[in-house]
């Protein structure tokens, strides 16, 4: 109970954290400092609360009557909520720390306090929805999150594409909320109250259950950014300030995952097609997401596409768990849930770190176009090193934490494909092939972005706007990477939290230790050994570089004698690096060439560009919405803006009501 109290206190503190800044001058950083202090204090309070709760570890709940019809302040804390609260408190605190330097009040007098307030509200909304056990309360938290995120996306609303991103986000998130409202109304119809409890239906027989499941998949899928509901995500995440993008990608997307897991927990035995559907969505989202990432030339959009891929991996884990649950195979259930939850935590760490890196790059170069950068590593050495580590984690490479999650997931699919029927083997083949493809394609996309941005020589003489920040920005990045490494070396330490979450997520699962399922100890020590060996070598290289600096003039790159030092634009760019893949996968990754038009004498100046676009948004949604808009524009004739005509409408309506009333009277 103390735990829940502390966590509530922490969430309230987070929600209020932005407001102290309003008391101070818009040009001074004092207010932001107070906000940061409050955020750190609240997060510490929340983490303390989590620790206190895990010590006991029994689910607690409080219910306080509330005036709102149907609503009650039903709060609860169980393993699943507690697990998703970890990244929330961690990333909120680190993001505020990063923002202290990245979005400094004195540099952004107009938007600094605004960002602070909505940042706090975004965190608090997520905290509220994680604790809510009542539909109305849940939707309150959900809407707070969604609306706060909207205001954070449009911070730089002066730019047209930012406004467009906000608009697309707004429409799609509320489409999701619509599905959730229907879902909760149907649930209320079945349960008789908006408070949540296990549904008295047998999903195998009752078709209503499947409708509920599909509604949850759509409603929460929009937030999670699973394909085909992903189209809002790249624009929105790239428009927000980088520390906010980190919170959105690292934590907000996971709220969709949480919602699906929570709702699934209220069904007894799911039919097997649920798991297959979730798995298929996961595979397609993972593979297509990473293919899109490998064709993207805007750094933050590329990171957002990689988030879509990682959400796909999480969904694959959930699909495996569902298949295990419907076939009664406990091993698959546990492995799938464990992999999904591990990946939730891992992704929230490394993706946030990558967004912070992008913030640091943006801070120094004022551009997100990878093709314009290059050779940044001497100017941003810390960011460069951090990017390598975080990118390795994102690719699932040992010795970092990303590997642990994918390793568990692979083992689950190996179990699926080696035992059982032809169909499960077929699913296993698709999943393992998909995972292998995802793993190797993410190496392509991250080598591509790291190489283009940090290695080689600068492609344009971009002015460096200020040096690398080595204060708060570097500190928060370093803490995130320490967490990534720590999870890679000691994954067993987090196992108890995962175990609690697995026990509480699906109903009727007996508690059982997870540590015997996969050899955690061995892989952890292997990771540690690998890291030490690699680190020693790289440390020696850095030391040697420092000692030999300035000794003798170093030559140009030999490069078969071709190199022309005056034109670094001859280097491979991000688009040339991804060309092989974008040619192979052109059916997913449509890219248009803008070829130069040159003809006749005295041709005019022309240019060449390749542009990739999203097939779902650009190919289907926008044209269909536009044609729908054209069709219904006939209705505009009714609305003319003249008062007399509106008065006429009122008179007609009144008369019609009178007629109807007199007809229906006996």
């Amino acid at each position: 109970m103390t735990g829940l109290l502390l966590i509530c206190l922490g969430i309230t503190g987070l929600g209020l954290s932005g407001f102290p800044a309003l008391l101070f001058n818009r040009h001074s950083n004092t207010g932001q400092g107070f906000s940061l202090g409050l955020t750190l204090l609240s997060s510490a309070c929340g983490i303390l609360g989590l620790a206190a709760w895990w010590k006991g570890g029994t689910a607690v709940s409080v219910e306080i009557p509330w005036q709102i019809p149907g609503g009650s302040l039903a709060l609860g804390l169980d393993g699943l909520s507690a697990f998703f609260l970890i990244p929330l408190f961690l990333v909120s605190a680190l993001g505020a720390l990063f923002g202290m330097e990245y979005w400094k009040q004195s540099d952004n007098p107009d938007s600094g306090r605004y960002v602070g307030i909505f940042y706090g509200l975004l965190s608090a909304g997520m905290g509220l929805l994680l604790l809510a056990r009542n539909s109305v309360l849940f939707l309150l938290g959900w809407e707070t999150m969604a609306v706060a995120a909207y205001f954070l996306i449009v911070v730089e609303g002066g730019q047209k594409n930012v406004r467009q991103a906000g608009w697309i986000y707004w429409v799609s998130t509320h489409f999701g909320v619509l599905a959730l409202m229907v879902l909760f109304l149907v649930m209320q119809g079945l349960l008789g109250t908006f408070d949540w409890s296990v549904l008295p239906l047998d999903p195998a027989k009752d078709v209503r259950c499947s409708i509920l499941f599909l509604l949850a998949l759509v409603g929460f899928g929009f937030k999670a950014g699973i394909m085909p509901f992903h189209f809002w995500l790249p624009k929105a995440h790239s428009s927000a300030p980088s520390h906010v993008s980190g919170l959105m990608s690292g934590v907000m997307l996971k709220m969709g995952v949480y919602g699906i897991l929570r709702i699934l927990g209220y069904f007894s035995q799911p039919p097997s097609w649920w798991g297959i559907l979730v798995l298929a969505m996961g595979i397609s989202s993972g593979v297509l997401g990473i293919i899109l990432a490998s064709g993207e030339s805007d750094l933050k959009r590329m990171l957002a596409f990689s988030s879509i891929e990682n959400i796909g991996i999480i969904f694959m884990g959930m699909g495996l768990a569902l298949i295990g649950r419907s076939t009664g195979n406990d091993l698959l259930l546990r492995l799938g849930m464990m992999a999904a939850l591990f990946h939730v935590l891992n992704h929230s760490l490394f993706k946030t770190a990558l967004f912070y890196c992008s913030g640091s790059i943006l801070h120094s170069t004022h551009t997100r176009r990878m093709d314009w950068l290059g050779g940044l590593i001497p100017f941003l050495p810390l960011t460069g090193g951090a990017f390598v580590l975080a990118a390795c984690a994102a690719c699932g490479l040992p010795p970092l934490n990303g590997f642990i999650g994918e390793w568990i997931l692979y083992q689950g699919f190996f179990h699926l494909s080696t035992g059982g029927s032809f169909f499960s083997a077929f699913l296993g083949t698709l999943a393992i092939g998909g995972l292998a493809l995802i793993g190797s394609l993410s190496v392509v996309s991250f080598v591509r972005s790291f190489g283009t941005i940090f290695l080689g020589s600068p492609r344009f003489s971009f002015g460096l706007h200020g040096k690398e920040k080595k204060g708060f920005m570097a500190a928060s990045l370093g803490l995130l990477l320490a967490a990534c490494l720590g999870l890679g070396f000691f994954p067993g330490r987090i196992l108890f939290a995962v175990g609690k979450a697995v026990e509480s997520a699906p109903t009727g699962l007996p508690p059982a230790p997870l540590d015997g399922l996969v050899p955690f100890g061995l892989i952890a020590s292997l990771n540690l050994a690998l890291f030490v060996v690699l680190g020693l070598g790289i440390g020696w290289i850095l030391l040697r570089k420092r000692n030999t600096a300035g000794e003798s003039p170093r030559p140009e790159t030999w490069s078969c004698g071709y190199a022309d030092p005056s034109s670094p634009r001859l280097q491979y760019t991000a688009s040339s690096f991804g060309e092989i893949l974008s040619k192979t996968y052109h059916w997913v990754l449509p890219f248009r060439f803008h070829r130069p038009v040159l003809g006749g004498p005295f041709p005019r100046k022309s240019g060449f560009a390749t542009i990739t676009y999203d097939r779902i948004l650009g190919g289907i949604l926008i044209p269909s919405f536009r044609s729908f808009g054209d069709k219904v524009s006939v209705l505009l004739k009714i609305q003319q803006g003249r008062t007399s005509i509106y008065l006429l409408y009122i008179v007609i309506a009144f008369l019609a009501a009178l007629c109807w009333g007199s007809w229906s009277l006996p």
């Binding site: 070598g537 030999w558 280097q571 092989i580």
Partner: protein, 302 residues
């Protein structure tokens, strides 16, 4: 147990460059030349480790980190691969995933080191290396699935160990398919003909070699030795599947050496009689390798 581990590690470290010699001798024999000596690779390595390095002014620490991480990752990967059905020094549940991913770690850093030179040749090589590997990776995993299904175990050493590997004639077909698929993957991953020609003089057509154009001295030595270790470990994988017989103590190590020599001769013969594929057909061949090994797995499920 310890003896086997010592033999394993020393074979990986010291025997692997010999494979390159055997391949080159075979090619020379087919072409009617004398060819370089059998131990040429050892001489090359000894020479490279004694030399200094030229580091271009474009490069950063990544340029040297690439060869180091590449070498360590191949060595770490070799620790989980059973050589000739002997249990590998490290064997645990899920080690085949570690094998694939630690090799990917090496690829990440090698390709980054290539991009670090800022030369478009090396960028080209890096792009090809990582893109082609993404086509080959599923083939490797489908093969693992077939072996896991056969043996109902989830560790490489267990998969190919004697008692788990007794197969009736009905399973032979899928093993053959996996062997062929993995042989294709081996050729691609080790940049052999028909994917890549280590001897070509046209950098525009190369894959792996063009990535390391600017490395010299000990760094190049590490790359060369890492490449030979990778050839050995992938060769061991192929041969473990191709010759599923039980280990019989020390004698089996000689059996393994013979198998590897046979493989090297086979690669040499392939290189002698085939030309390089056109680059745009490389993905097709790798995708067909994926299909072969996936089909090998599906045959087992029937």
């Amino acid at each position: 147990m310890i003896l086997n581990a010592v033999i394993h590690v020393s074979m990986v470290l010291f025997l692997s460059p010999l494979l390159l010699g055997v391949i080159n001798k075979t090619k020379a024999f087919v072409a009617g030349r004398v060819g370089p000596p059998l131990f040429q690779a050892y001489c090359d390595l000894a020479k490279l480790f004694r030399k200094g390095m030229v580091l271009s002014r474009t490069t950063s620490w990544m340029f040297l980190a690439g060869p180091w991480v590449g070498w360590v990752s191949v060595f770490a990967a070799s620790l989980v691969v059973p050589l000739g059905h002997h249990r590998a020094p490290l064997a645990f549940q899920g080690d085949m995933i570690f094998l694939a991913y630690v090799l990917a770690l090496g690829r990440f850093f090698t390709a980054s080191a290539a991009l670090d030179t800022g030369s478009s040749f090396e960028g080209m090589g890096a792009a090809r290396e990582v893109s082609f590997s993404s086509f080959a990776e599923p083939a490797l995993f489908f093969g693992f699935m077939a072996l896991a299904r056969l043996s109902q175990t989830y560790s490489l050493s267990e998969m190919v160990l004697g008692e788990n590997f007794k197969v009736g004639p009905e399973k032979i077909a899928s093993l053959i398919l996996v062997t062929i698929a993995w042989f294709i993957v081996l050729l691609a991953e080790n940049s052999r003909i028909p994917f890549d020609d280590p001897n070509t003089h046209l950098e525009l057509t190369m894959v792996h070699e063009v990535m390391v154009l600017d490395h010299s001295g000990p760094a190049l030595g590490l790359i060369l030795h890492g490449a030979s270790m990778k050839l050995l470990l992938m060769g061991a994988l192929v041969m473990d599947v191709a010759f599923p017989w039980d280990p019989s103590g020390l004698a089996d190590w000689f059996m393994f050496i013979l198998e590897m020599a046979l493989l090297a001769v086979l690669i040499g013969v392939v290189e002698s009689f085939m030309a390089r594929l056109r680059l745009k057909f490389v993905p097709n061949l790798l995708v067909s390798a994926c299909l072969l090994s996936a089909f090998g797995f599906i045959l087992l499920v029937r």
